[in-house]
């Protein structure tokens, strides 16, 4: 199977001296849905930001064989679609159309192709009717869905999502899980929602204190109560 993400010995320290990642090595294969779990402060979000070069630590990060370096960033950021935890950080344009079109416009696509991608992406998340609305007029759940659409418009091969079900009501949560299940890309999902991991993901990687503690099939990790308890997950 093709390796889509290859990380080797990744270290990252914030400017204030906090060692956020301490030697992470892992691989993700094409078509896999992988859950990244861990307590608060484990380094999940920091790790995700290395996958598209927002942060660049010491060690090797390769996406589809391409090293995450300055000259490859444009290509990598098209391949790796990142959905941030807070949709208000991701929706910064005056209308939903503009937000979803932002990525394709940066790719230099023509007007017709941009319109087509916006329509398709919003349809994929069930938000076609909101195309002319301003993001601050949408509910939180609707903003989360539009945030996913903004990334789908780039047609990424890897979807990286930070806490997709955080702060969602049960109905919106179920709708989000159904949406992610229908998207066939490779997915890396950082989450505290173990039920989501169980429903969606074939594999779980457990991070704690910047290190990879476990990497195994979902059922094996979720059965290991002692492991989950030791790392503050139950």
């Amino acid at each position: 199977m093709k390796k889509v993400i290859e990380i080797e010995s990744l270290h990252f320290t914030y400017p204030d001296g906090t060692a956020a990642l301490r030697g992470i090595t892992l691989e993700v294969f094409e078509g896999e849905k992988v859950a990244l779990i861990g307590p608060n402060g484990a380094g999940k979000s920091t790790f995700l930001l290395h996958l598209n070069g927002i942060f660049r630590g010491d060690g090797s990060v390769r996406i589809d064989g391409l090293p995450v370096e300055k000259e490859n960033l444009k290509v990598i950021r098209q391949k790796v679609g990142m959905v941030f935890q807070n949709p208000d950080d991701q929706l910064f344009c005056p209308t939903v159309f503009d937000d979803v079109a932002f990525g394709p416009r940066n790719l230099g696509l023509d007007h017709d192709e941009i319109e087509r991608r916006v329509t398709e992406s919003l349809a994929a998340v069930g938000m076609e009717v909101s195309v002319k609305k301003s993001p601050f007029r949408l509910s939180f759940g609707e903003r989360k869905r539009v945030a996913i659409a903004t990334v789908l418009a780039l047609r990424p091969s890897v979807l990286v999502i930070d806490e997709p079900t955080a702060n969602l009501d049960p109905r919106s949560r179920r709708a989000t899980i159904a949406l992610l299940r229908d998207l066939h890309d490779t997915q890396v999902i950082a989450t505290h929602d173990l039920a989501l991991a169980s429903e969606l993901c074939s594999r779980i990687i457990l991070l704690d204190a910047g290190q990879k503690v476990a990497d195994a099939p979902t059922a094996k990790i979720l059965e290991d109560n002692a492991l989950l308890q030791a790392h503050g997950l139950v």
């Binding site: 930001l49 098209q78 990142m82 950080d89 929706l91 910064f92 005056p94 159309f97 301003s134 601050f136």
Partner: protein
Amino acid sequence: MKHGFLDKYSDLSSPLHSLSATAKVIVFFALILVCVTTAPSAYLSFGGYLTFLAACLAVSHVPVIHVLRRSLVVVPFLAMAALSIPFFSRAAEGRNAVTGAHPGLIVFQGIALKSFVSVCSLILLSAITPFPHFLSALRKLGTPRLLISLMSFTYRYLFLMVEEFERMVRARDARCYGGGWLWQTRVVGRMVGTFFVRSYERAERVYHAMAARGFDGRVPVQDAQPMELKDYLFVLLSVAFLAGFRVLIAPGRML
């Protein structure tokens, strides 16, 4: 929080709403220019400008009370202008000779008329033009991209930041906030400082989100709706009407 959206009523349906944003921006900015360069005593000219505004208001179905309520924003500035009346000297003898009025009153009258007409123009423009279209029109008319993106981000995040500050105020009040003025000043000062840091961190996260979608420093702006025959006709007739009241009724006199 109930947001007072800048472009309230811009989603109505009327002949004025259906015109291109570029045409509307040209006409209403022309109205402001013409009004500001008209002498305060040219009452007929101001009558013409107000008639034009009233006609646009009637055609657009925007409630009059909305425009009048928002135009109250000029009151503090007029109050300040009124305070300066006694300080005007008899230097403006020409105008005094015509009306016999104190020169300060003449100036105040000019400020009041011009600010009221200008503010009503902008309020009506914002009520018949969705804000993103307004920005696209400004871009088409030559406004630098950087300014457009600044206005866009300000509008997008203004309500979010106000809500965040309101939450801080609520949290403060829930803990029996009170005491002497010095203590209160220190508390508010620290809140403002924290608010700045939170805004800065949000700006960083937004930048990461932009970079994650391929942003390379050039801000893409949606293309403005192209102008059609009805837009050109609207611009031509409106500018002719306004220029007529400016040039034919009160030629040359500006102040």
